[in-house]
């Protein structure tokens, strides 16, 4: 099998694993980690498919456009994770829960 497709299928597997964990796990930290795994899968697919330009047919290196998208995507994913973690800490501070409850939870009295 062409190594390009091996990497692409690995990326797809990572994406699906992340999606599974995102749905199954209710803990918010695990959801954020699952979204990160999904993002890594997407990046792997993009970088792997960019390598298809690097062949004898076309005398050029790997396609730079997906590479540029992945570079910015990684930094944006990090900042989005940071925002997600801050929101999670806020949810935990407000409700004392680390997951979204099915029914509304009573707000505990604040201890200052």
């Amino acid at each position: 099998m062409n190594p390009v497709f091996l990497y692409t299928l690995t990326g797809l597997g990572l994406f699906t694993l992340g999606l599974y964990a995102l749905i199954i796990q209710s803990h918010l930290l695990r959801k954020i980690l699952a979204i990160n795994v999904m993002g890594s899968g997407v990046f792997l697919v993009l970088v792997a498919l960019a390598d298809r330009a690097q062949s004898a047919l076309y005398q050029v290196g790997p396609d730079p456009i997906p590479h540029a998208m992945v570079i910015t995507g990684i930094v944006v994913a990090v900042s989005a994770s940071a925002l997600g973690l801050s929101l999670m800490l806020r949810v935990q501070a407000e409700t004392g829960q680390t997951a979204f409850a099915d029914e509304p939870v009573e707000k505990p009295s604040k201890t200052l």
């Binding site: 299928l9 699906t16 298809r52 730079p64 456009i65 944006v76 900042s79 989005a80 801050s86 800490l89």
Partner: protein
């Protein structure tokens, strides 16, 4: 805000197995479809790389990835800088920097200086301290190198900014304090420098009668380097500020806080004699 957040909470994990099986089936169908879609792609495709390489002489740089980031698709990168800034604004809007945070290295203090004795023993060990002192200048040097080399080899603003951000995170983890002077206006100016430089260059080019971010080929290399330098600073400081988890205290807010506490103590001092009289 403590480590309870990452504790296991088994009570949330009630999932009926039929639903789980249904989910596994749906995801299997999804991954089969996606795999099929990927496998029928031609194994050799130039994408846009031929176009990118053919126009590299006009882009001002010789690294095609940097040319894509800062020249061909500069508008994309401009909006990505906006996303970074928005994420930081989102984190800051959730509150100030937590006064006390737990980390793997013990309790780490941030800007609010505290004299409480319980926090004095949270200083990092000598190994981490010396390691940070050695590594941070090196990281700044590497960041500058990556920024410069980005014009003709792998590197560029985002990589350099990430290294700079890592240096900032290392400093924060090893319990360095920054003066409040730096967390006010100067920090905010650094955070928007990248986006501001991008927009300034773009608008100046518009006034010249060109498209937004359409660099004139002779000047392209210089303009890209200027934008990248500002973007590196902004990305690095944004990542380090995101790590703080809240809006850092500025000199004004700390003064207000100390005033409030001193007022409270003076009020307490006033109140105390009255209660004594009542007794």
């Amino acid at each position: 805000m403590n480590l309870n957040v990452i504790n296991k909470s088994p009570k949330y994990n009630h999932h009926q197995s039929p639903l789980k099986f249904l989910l596994i089936i749906i995801l299997s169908v999804m991954i089969s479809g996606l795999s099929y879609a990927v496998l029928i792609l031609p194994s050799q495709a130039p994408g846009l790389s031929v176009l990118a390489v053919d126009n590299i002489d006009k882009s001002g740089v010789s690294n095609p990835v940097t040319a894509v980031l800062l020249n061909y698709r500069g508008y994309d990168t401009l909006l990505e800088m906006c996303v970074l800034l928005l994420a930081l604004v989102g984190v800051w809007s959730l509150g100030d920097v937590p006064e006390r945070r737990h980390s793997l290295l013990g309790v780490v203090r941030f800007w609010p200086q505290s004299n409480k004795p319980e926090r004095r023993h949270s200083l990092p060990g000598p190994v981490l301290d010396i390691f940070a002192r050695l590594l941070v200048p090196l990281l700044i040097l590497v960041s500058g190198y990556l920024l410069w080399i980005g014009a003709h080899a792998p590197g560029g603003a985002f990589q350099a900014g990430s290294v700079l951000g890592a240096a900032g995170v290392l400093l924060l983890l090893s319990d360095w304090h920054f003066d409040h002077h730096f967390s006010g206006l100067s920090l905010r100016i650094t955070l928007i420098a990248g986006l501001g430089m991008f927009l300034t260059v773009g608008l100046l080019l518009l006034l010249e009668g060109r498209q937004l971010l359409e660099y004139p080929p002779p000047l392209a290399g210089v303009l890209i380097l200027i934008i990248e330098a500002a973007a590196t600073l902004s990305i690095g400081f944004t990542l380090a500020s995101l790590f703080l988890g809240g809006r850092p205290m500025t000199q004004g807010t700390t003064q207000a806080m100390t005033q409030a506490t001193s007022q409270a103590t003076s009020q307490a001092a006033i109140v105390r004699p009255i209660t004594k009289d009542q007794q």
